[in-house]
């Protein structure tokens, strides 16, 4: 059956900071453009999770009067701390000795989810058609191989692939240009990178998994505007990661942990490392007596400029962290994502009006502050492959003395799925049991995300080889999906002496870690029925 189709000047996939910035900028340039924006979450913002200490540079350019328009950017950073944690001790690092990219006194503590909701309102007011609850599930191509648009997911399909009474076929959205802005490890972006070889000559992309909890804490311990980061315990010297603790408004603290997905030990559980981190006396003291009100996790991009794929292809652009514009040493990706979206809008305008090629994107990108920023940042993350201590020493020299201008570029050598060592070669890790006060298990955490997927729909976590998890991955790596998944989606169950790999896809919080870290790349994340997934509030 032929699907219905709708035509637009520009089709944007994803309602995060980059996609929304493209939409807004395009409408500012030409109010007559027809633009539609698809978002897989039930509403804009519901799948957004970020620290977030926000640099306003891109927003200042996009919507200079954001203060008058009551943007949810209120809490200015007042004080900063950086701690190295030992098991029980901590060492405070003077902030003046931090590279300037890690200084935040001009920035704001925000909820990126709320900022996206606000950007969504601005876009709608400009006439952008926003469709939440509609995942783009498929890329449409023209006969000449260029991108023609996307198709939305069919709704009302049962788990065996049959149409239910509520069946509603997806529709084709045709754009003169299609912009992919799905965020880190977008499932269509991944296909485009492969098909158009956008990563040719680039280093393998690097990822991390980020956790975030929101706590309401005791008034006496709350210092609105305080930004604190830590490195060290509970991770060893060879595992890349660290924490953030941001004191936001309303006695809330945004508490989070990021771990590089290039870790080697398959017994490592990022979730449990985060939980354990909270038991450090310095951290426990902050949240003790408070209440955890939100939980979530999301993969993020860490590869930087070396791993950044080409961002244009015939008929389409790939922007934000769907490509990978996050600035790792700054630990910020929102302003860079927004800028990449604004450059996309300028490119599209010239493409539609003056018949310029979309490769113009690359020129505009190279002339922008975004490229300068990413160039300067490029050597930080790879230097940490030498371990935390050497990484810090190198970063100090690179960022403080040379300001990122070393005449060489360090490379990323391995993709994250290649770094795991066999489980019998690596030490097992005993994680303490949760106390349900400071630390929690995955089940009660996932409950807070509000995630749900309509029952009786096809499993959206596909296995290329259904036998592989038990036959190979369990044997060799102790099936690490049980540990790296932050939502308890994957389990190995023993039934009558036989191991069975179980996928609880209803629990999925759309973080994409499995798609990245599975050692044989055997798990493919595809879009579930629209509106499924977490219902994040002010994440």
């Amino acid at each position: 059956m032929a699907r219905e189709s709708m035509e637009y000047d520009v089709v944007i996939v994803g309602g995060g900071p980059s996609g929304l910035s493209t939409a807004i900028k395009l409408k500012q340039i030409d109010p007559n453009l027809n633009i539609c924006l698809l978002e897989k979450a039930s509403e804009i913002g519901a799948h957004i999770l970020s620290g977030n200490v926000f640099e306003t540079r891109a927003l200042d350019e996009l919507i200079p009067n954001w203060r008058e328009l009551n943007a949810p950017i209120k809490t200015k950073v007042k004080k900063e701390k950086f701690l190295f944690l030992g098991k029980t001790k901590s060492l405070s690092w003077p902030t003046w000795l931090l590279p300037s990219v890690q200084q935040n006194h001009k920035n704001y503590i925000i909820s990126l989810a709320n900022l996206c909701r606000w950007l969504g309102e601005q876009a709608e007011a400009l006439g952008v058609e926003i469709f939440p609850g509609f995942p783009a599930s498929e890329i449409l191509y023209k006969e000449d191989g260029s991108v023609r648009g996307v198709a939305t997911q069919d709704m009302g399909i049962d788990k065996d692939g049959n149409q239910k009474d509520s069946y509603e076929p997806g529709i084709d959205l045709i754009g003169k240009v299609t912009v992919f802005a799905e965020g880190c490890r977008g499932h269509l972006g991944k296909q485009l990178i492969k098909k158009f070889e956008l990563d040719k000559g680039k280093d393998p992309q690097q990822y991390g998994i980020g956790f975030k909890e929101i706590w309401e804490i005791n008034e006496k311990k709350h210092e609105e505007g305080l930004v604190m980061h830590t490195a060290g315990w509970p991770l060893d010297n060879n595992t890349y990661g660290g924490s953030f603790i941001y004191h936001a408004e309303n006695k809330q603290v945004f508490l989070g942990y990021v771990i590089g997905l290039d870790y080697k030990n398959p017994h490592l559980s990022p979730f449990d490392e985060f939980q354990r981190f909270k038991t450090h006396p310095k951290i426990k003291n902050i949240i003790e007596g408070g209440k955890r009100i939100s939980y979530g996790a999301r993969a993020l991009i860490e590869g930087g400029l070396q791993s950044l794929p080409k961002m244009y292809m015939p008929g389409a652009l790939l922007i934000g962290c769907d490509a990978g514009t996050l600035n790792m040493p700054k630990i910020k990706g929102s302003h860079t994502a927004m800028k990449s979206g604004m450059i996309a809008a300028e490119t599209i305008n010239h493409y539609l009006k003056d018949g310029k090629d979309l490769s113009l994107y690359d020129n505009l990108f190279r002339e922008s502050w975004l490229h300068k920023e990413l160039y300067k940042a490029r050597n930080v993350k790879p230097s940490f492959s030498w371990g935390l201590i050497l990484g810090i020493i190198f970063t100090g020299i690179d960022q403080i003395l040379f300001r990122g201008k070393f005449p060489f570029t360090l490379r990323h050598k391995h993709a994250d799925h290649e770094t795991l060592r066999p489980s019998n070669e690596m030490p097992k890790i005993n994680y303490p049991k949760p106390d349900n006060i400071i630390t929690f298990d995955k089940t009660s955490s996932v409950y807070l995300t509000g995630t749900n997927h309509a029952e009786n729909q096809p499993v959206h976590l596909k296995l290329k080889d259904p036998e592989l998890p038990i036959k190979y991955t369990l044997e060799k790596y102790d099936e690490p999906a049980q540990k790296y998944c932050p939502a308890g989606v994957y389990e190995v169950q023993n039934e009558n002496g036989k191991n069975k790999f179980v996928i609880n896809s209803q629990n999925c919080i759309h973080c994409k870690t499995c798609d990245i870290k599975e050692p044989s790349q055997n798990i493919i994340w595809v879009t579930p029925e629209g509106g499924g997934g977490p219902k994040y509030g002010n994440m």
Binding site: S111, E168, I293, G537, N538
Partner: protein, 249 residues
């Protein structure tokens, strides 16, 4: 036949509801809101009746703050013809809501009024019944099947003992159970079309009704936390514990 469907905006059923620290209510800021689920069933049924050629107009009505309009928009996207938004701020009790709906009914003169059997936020299960009383119309509550037969309504009700089938005259009020149907998805083109369908705006304060709450809410608190369970090794131990510790047998 004209059908009026009442829809309410509530905290999404997937969201874990949190009690405010001062005990004055629950937190609604930064929380995903949606249409009350059985209201979706009410809309679906009305649209189905229209599609079967037995109704010529479906009107969706909501009462509440500006954003409550989203629930009407959603109803329009799945097939309602037009909407009414009665603007009101603050908490409205079922009595005030049913009195406001009475005014809307008097103006629109529908033959049937559909709504969810109860709202998942306050769980009152009163508005339909009160409206029926105010209008002096027959009511069929907890409907899981609705048939229009010779100008009458045959309704199967979900009752404690099982299923009860009743026949009532029209005009009537029907409150809908989740088992009534499976609400459809709004398609993208229909969401677009819904943006162009009209929504009439009324102000609750202009309708001459005393909206003041009749119930004083003293305190809202979370239910006590469940204690962790224990494992027993034998039936004998279980019986012993039930007798001596839990003291339930």
């Amino acid at each position: 036949m004209k059908i009026l469907v009442a829809v309410k905006r509530v905290i999404d059923y997937n969201v874990q509801v949190r009690v405010k620290e001062d005990g004055t209510g629950v937190v609604t800021e930064n929380v995903k809101m949606s249409t009350n689920p059985p209201d979706d069933n009410a809309v679906e049924e009305a649209v189905k009746i229209k599609e079967a050629g037995k109704s010529n107009e479906v009107i969706a009505v909501t009462i509440g703050e500006e954003k409550a309009q989203e629930t009407v928009r959603k109803a329009l996207a799945v097939g309602a013809d037009r909407g009414i938004h009665v603007k009101a701020e603050g908490v409205l009790e079922p009595l005030a809501v049913s009195k406001l709906l009475q005014k809307v009914v008097e103006k629109e003169k529908p033959d049937l009024v559909f709504m969810g059997k109860q709202a998942i936020d306050d769980d009152c299960n009163q508005t339909g019944q009160m409206l029926s009383s105010l209008l002096n119309w027959p009511q069929a509550t907890f409907a899981s099947k609705i048939d229009i037969k010779d100008g009458k309504l045959e309704v199967v009700r979900e009752v404690d003992e099982g299923l009860e089938t009743i026949e009532i005259n029209i005009p009537a009020i029907v409150t809908c159970d989740l088992r009534l149907n499976e609400p459809r998805y709004a398609s993208l083109p229909n969401i677009m079309k819904a943006k162009k369908k009209p929504i009439d705006q009324l102000n609750a304060s202009d309708l001459g009704i005393d909206l003041a709450p009749r119930i004083a809410q003293i305190k809202v608190e979370e239910p006590p936390k469940r204690k962790a369970g224990i494992k027993v090794s034998s039936v004998a131990e279980l019986v012993q514990k039930l007798k001596n510790e839990a003291k339930v047998i």
